[in-house]
């Protein structure tokens, strides 16, 4: 995936994801790339961002060690609050959390995510782990940022099962069903980034990563994608961003090949 030897696709994704985090925001942070994106944003343009973890944690400083799970002891020590899961979920349902970051196994054109069943629920070909807190974050966060592997089998016209709601069938679906959260704002993939049409709520290609063509993105996407009129190349990670990412993931456990 590393197209020019200077950085990996994962490093580019982390940098692109970090730019979606605004200073001072409460961010519902996941593991892996989202956590590295949060750590990068903290060290660059969003020093006042605060991270929430569904196990019941709030931190304003990323843990000093690489985490394998959010409950790892280095993530607890030095937290602003280590409380009951229900309390951080409560902040989410209050509308106090501006941004949530999620990955997924399947995604569709309206940003719906499936992490539950490939195939039918009754007779699945693959049973995926399930929601965890993802469906809550997608339901309740002010904005949703989706970070995932871009493959045709994953980017489908319609997901088999809606675990984490995007814009459902598009348009005003979220208001109709009563979801309070704002829904997906952006998708960062291994090939490019997407924003969402303000009216139809359909994913629109906003940028392609260096060395990737829009045709390549089309080929890896299971629906006829719309391309933004001002589609452009994704700005590559800066030297500073790469240094911070590699400091936080020294052996490339999450961002290596």
């Amino acid at each position: 995936m590393n197209r020019d030897g200077t950085y990996t696709a994962q490093e580019l994704m982390v940098a692109a994801a970090a730019r979606q985090i605004r200073d001072g925001e409460l961010v519902f942070v996941g593991m892996r790339l989202p956590l590295l994106a949060f750590a990068l944003a903290k060290r660059t343009h969003a020093p006042a961002a605060i991270g929430l973890f569904e196990c019941g944690l709030i931190r304003d400083e990323p843990a000093p060690e690489l985490l394998y799970t959010m409950s790892d002891p280095p993530n607890i020590a030095g937290a602003l609050w280590s409380t009951r899961m229900i309390n951080v979920m409560a902040l989410l349902q209050q509308g106090a959390v501006q941004l949530g970051i999620l990955g997924g196994a399947e995604l569709d054109r309206f940003g719906n995510l499936n992490t539950s069943y490939i195939g039918s629920r009754e007779h699945p070909t693959v049973k995926l782990p399930g929601s965890g807190g993802a469906a809550d974050i997608a339901s309740l966060a002010g904005r949703l940022l989706i970070v995932m592997q871009h493959e045709r089998r994953r980017f489908k016209e319609r997901v088999d099962y809606v675990t984490s709601p995007g814009y459902g069938e598009g348009g005003d679906w979220r208001q109709r069903v009563g979801l309070p959260g704002g829904g997906p704002a952006a998708i960062v993939t291994t090939l490019g980034t997407f924003s969402f049409d303000g009216n139809t709520k359909e994913a629109v290609l906003a940028s392609y990563h260096p060395g990737v063509t829009t045709d390549e993105v089309r080929q890896q996407t299971g629906w006829a994608i719309r391309v933004s009129p001002d589609v452009h190349e994704t700005p590559p990670p800066t030297e500073e961003e790469l240094a911070i990412i590699r400091h936080n993931d020294p052996h490339g456990f999450w961002t290596g090949q």
């Binding site: 196990c55 799970t69 409950s71 790892d72 002891p73 929601s131 675990t163 459902g168 309070p180």
Partner: protein, 306 residues
């Protein structure tokens, strides 16, 4: 106070975790997972259990693979740092070794269900999961509306497990216990359950626990058994006692790819090690040493004086 709650793990499982009951485990998510208790449940060949928990980081997968489980009520079942749960997949996709009923929740709805159960409330309403497929065929998540505003709501029905198994750092012999670090739904889960089995790293005097009543996890009147089992949560972490054994999870993932591989793993790590002591011997001194804290991080002093 009911005395004599201290029993061995074998006694606790024999008395309080019969086949067919519902068991809450893994309330603190990836930490404080009661693996020692789960392995004893497997050794005592329990069947038809309903497992309840927000997420399960391989413990539910082990119980499912061992044929102890007929139903799971959970938000996520897998291997957090490595990937999917192979036994869980085989059970759901191929009904092997047994057919498994899955009641899919989100972390918030399972927490709300336990909160309602603990409160003695029939349900708690939420706006989460509206429009999702989790509401399809889960009778504990009821589509409804706010009688005052007409706004759509999900009524999360109360969850009351028969027994909760909770790992804690220290307890006295009556079940007055301190738990710290990551909490998850330990409190809600304990209050919602009809009884609680505490697995403690350390047995301490009543005075130690009562010196800090704000740190107490739940009322000892809920506790039916106290088991003193150091390292009882391995390979999951216990704050201040030992870290997470990441390699153990990776090795389990590889070993459990096939039914046969899982059976070999089960024999090696559960069936052939009748006690936790034997399990720890198999792990080896060196490995345990590596998991022990390299630094102490003491909580600031607190004075309850008057």
């Amino acid at each position: 106070m009911v005395m004599g709650k201290v029993v061995t793990m074998a006694q606790a499982i024999e008395r309080f975790v019969p086949s067919g009951c519902s068991v809450l485990m893994g309330a603190a998510l990836e930490s404080l997972i009661p693996f020692a208790a789960g392995h004893e449940i497997i050794r005592q060949r329990r069947r038809d259990l309903t497992l309840i928990g927000p997420i399960s980081d391989i413990l539910f997968d082990q119980l499912i693979g061992a044929g102890c489980v007929s139903r799971v009520i959970a938000a996520w079942i897998g291997n957090v740092s490595v990937g999917l749960a192979h036994n869980y997949r085989r059970a759901v996709e191929a009904h092997s070794p047994d057919r498994l009923v899955v009641e899919d929740h989100s972390n918030f709805t399972i927490a709300l269900g336990l909160l309602a159960g603990g409160l003695g409330a029939p349900f708690i309403p939420t706006r989460s999961l509206l429009g999702t497929d989790l509401l399809v065929g889960n009778l504990s998540l009821r589509r409804s509306a706010d009688p005052d505003t007409g706004a759509p709501l999900v009524f999360v029905r109360a969850i009351n497990p028969d027994i909760a198994i909770l790992h804690v750092q220290r307890s006295d012999d009556e079940g007055n216990a301190h738990c710290w670090g990551n909490l998850g739904v330990s409190e809600e889960g304990g209050l919602a359950s009809r009884g609680v089995v505490l697995v403690a790293e350390e047995l301490v005097s009543r005075d130690v626990i009562l010196s800090d009543p704000n740190r107490v996890l739940l009322p000892s009147s809920k506790v039916v058994a106290v088991v003193n089992e150091p390292w009882g949560a391995h390979p999951s972490p216990t704050q201040g006692c030992y870290g997470r054994d990441h390699e153990f999870y990776r090795a389990y993932h590889e070993a459990s790819r096939t039914q046969e591989g899982f059976q070999r793993w089960l024999k090696a790590w559960v069936l052939d090690v009748q006690t936790r002591t034997a399990y720890l011997t198999r792990l080896g001194e060196e490995r345990l040493k590596q998991l022990k804290p390299s630094r102490r991080l003491m909580a600031a002093p607190v004075d309850y004086g008057y």
